[in-house]
């Protein structure tokens, strides 16, 4: 056993909570499904990095945050923002480059959806660009004496950026209220974990920053929720950061359209069969007789309608006018 690393096992939660997580995961999945249709229909340009398969981490983790906490999300789909409560129509609007989106028409692909109200601080196009920002937000919270926490989510490949080291070390020294949550899906584009990442587990890096390292099953939102809740509580109590590694799986390509030549069809199919967090949750709920197929189908229908409404609303929005190009560069629109 590696010292300093704790393995979280399948968490326990009330049926209501599990159904909540289920519903939120389905919402994320359906939202993405509709988005992929827009991409297929040519309504959206740029790259999209589908989140299918990682809803468990995203939903479980974000449920552990309080309303004033900060979130620096990853690039793997849009479960983060949905789980945090960003209106789904506004999110579509961003992809459509409509003024109603958080970027006010600048567009997504690389997602830059921010909301001061929701503590969504945005995203960097260079992966790993948010580590230091998360440390900084946590520092601000600490200085204010608030009990806010910053949750920073990132991929396994991204953990090899030097920015992680610098931010994690500072967080360790200053006991910053930050939770580092790695979504380890075993791949960075076409590169496998083993070929690019030295330690047996990302959580092995925690001791190097004097923080606890935790490994958790990312396909179970309850387990993730528990692990993140513990870390958030530590952070709020002034005990400093935690590094959590959630083992998860990406069920689609790195970007939508990725031919995935680096892994076999069989592997992908097996993952989809065995590692879909939504299916897994359905199985658990069924096994515990906490739900039945009809309930699942009702939920899906209801959420599909929700998603369609959001899409329709967004599609009817206003494309950004050319002036948008020149707006928001400076706080006082000083030109040169």
């Amino acid at each position: 056993m590696r010292q300093n690393i704790r393995e979280e096992h399948v968490g326990t939660a009330s049926n209501d909570r599990r159904l909540e997580f289920y519903e939120m995961m389905v919402r994320c999945m359906l939202w993405e499904q509709r988005l992929l249709r827009m991409i297929e229909e040519g309504q959206i340009a740029g790259y999209y990095h589908p989140g299918r398969g990682q809803e468990g981490v995203q939903v479980g983790a974000i449920a552990a945050l309080g309303p004033k906490d900060y979130l620096l999300y990853g690039h793997r789909g849009c479960g983060y923002q949905i789980a945090r409560g960003l209106p789904m129509d506004q999110m579509y609007a961003d992809f459509l480059c409509h003024l109603e989106g958080p970027t006010r028409g600048l567009g997504a692909g690389t997602i830059h959806m921010a909301s001061p109200e929701l503590g969504l601080l945005g995203q960097a196009g260079g992966v790993g660009g948010t580590f230091a920002l998360a440390a900084g937000a946590a520092l601000a919270a600490q200085q204010r004496g608030s009990d806010q926490v910053a949750l920073c989510m990132f991929g396994d490949g991204t953990s090899n950026r030097g920015t992680f080291h610098e931010a994690a070390n500072a967080a360790g020294v200053w006991k910053l209220p930050v939770v580092w949550l790695c979504e380890n899906n075993g791949w960075a584009v076409s590169c496998s974990y083993a070929e690019t990442t030295a330690p047996e587990r990302i959580a092995d890096r925690a001791i190097g920053y004097n923080m606890p390292g935790v490994v958790v099953d990312g396909q179970d939102p309850v387990a993730v929720y528990d692990a993140v809740s513990t870390a958030v509580a530590r952070a709020r109590a002034g005990e400093g950061p935690t590094l959590i590694e959630a083992i998860t799986h990406r069920l689609r390509g790195h970007y939508e359209g990725d031919p995935q030549r680096y892994r076999t069809k069989e592997t992908i199919e097996a993952l989809r069969r065995e590692q879909d967090p939504i299916t897994l949750m359905e199985q658990r709920l069924l096994a515990d007789a906490a739900a039945d197929a009809e309930l699942f189908s009702d939920i899906r229908k209801r959420l599909a309608a929700e998603v369609d409404t959001a899409a329709d609303k967004a599609l009817a929005g206003t494309p950004a006018p050319p002036e948008r190009i020149f707006q928001y560069v400076y706080s006082e629109e000083q030109g040169q």
Binding site: T110, G125, G126, F326
Partner: protein, 329 residues
Amino acid sequence: MSSSVVKYNNAIRDALAEELERDETVFMMGEDVGAMGGIYGLSRGLQERFGKKRVFDTPISETLIVGAGVGAALAGRRPVVELQYADFVSVAMDEIWNRAAKWRYMHGGRFNVPLTILAPEGAVGGVGAEHSQCPEGMFWGCPGLHVVTPATPADAKGLLKSAIRSNDPVLFLPHKGLSTLRGEIPDGDHLVPIGQANVVRQGRDLTIVAWSAMLHKALQAATELSADGIEAEVIDPRGIRPFDFDRVIESVRKTGRLVVAHEAAVRGGPGGEIVAEVTQRAFRHLKAPVMRVGAPDVPVPQSIRLEKLIVPKVVDIVAAVRTMLEPVN
């Protein structure tokens, strides 16, 4: 001499393959350059052909990619390293600016640094402010480095081969928007020297300096202007360090007018240095101030519609020329 028609990206791949074949100290590394062949396919098939020791993936660690390239170069190899997007030069800026470029000078010329940094640039397809930039201008003031921006398949191949053979570090910036452009390439060991401008079109009325994707727009503008009897000389400097000022100034002395067109923003872009030097050296020959064509002073907007509005177009060059030729009132 026989030649073949090759696509720009394939020309890059051919150059890599030929140099890997030719010199066993050449190797290539970068994110996803191995089995995947690079996110823009520049190294497709090379790992299969040359093995994992010669062409391989790295972690997402841009300072390592460039820095280890420098280290391997000092230790006798001839590395080609890829940054997935030219924008990421900022991530490895210290390694490019202070390691690769200055090592030789600072250490009394005891080492060469035969490193090639390959990094696709340009605003294409709505990939946003951090995946669309043309950063060559940042390296105007970077002694020790060469900066190369090929506009055609032949130049992409010939310049890359020269870059790999150069004993000095070269920042090689192909343009993403040119990847499928076809062009003739002389068969055999096609080399294009670094720092030699190419007078792509002759003309008497004005000179247009443009490189990379912009060259093609300049040529199209020249064709349009020609219909009105305006003959533009179009010069491709093929990069900015070293810059073939002599060739450009020779042309400007003849035409008396210069337009510099690039994809980067005008403000602080690579054109300023060209204007300053040419104006200094050919002032008495200039009938009008040098005009610059480039993007506005904003980050590249991600919206593909807005992106298209900021990337300079043929009409912008034509308009600049017409303004320039207007009689002064």
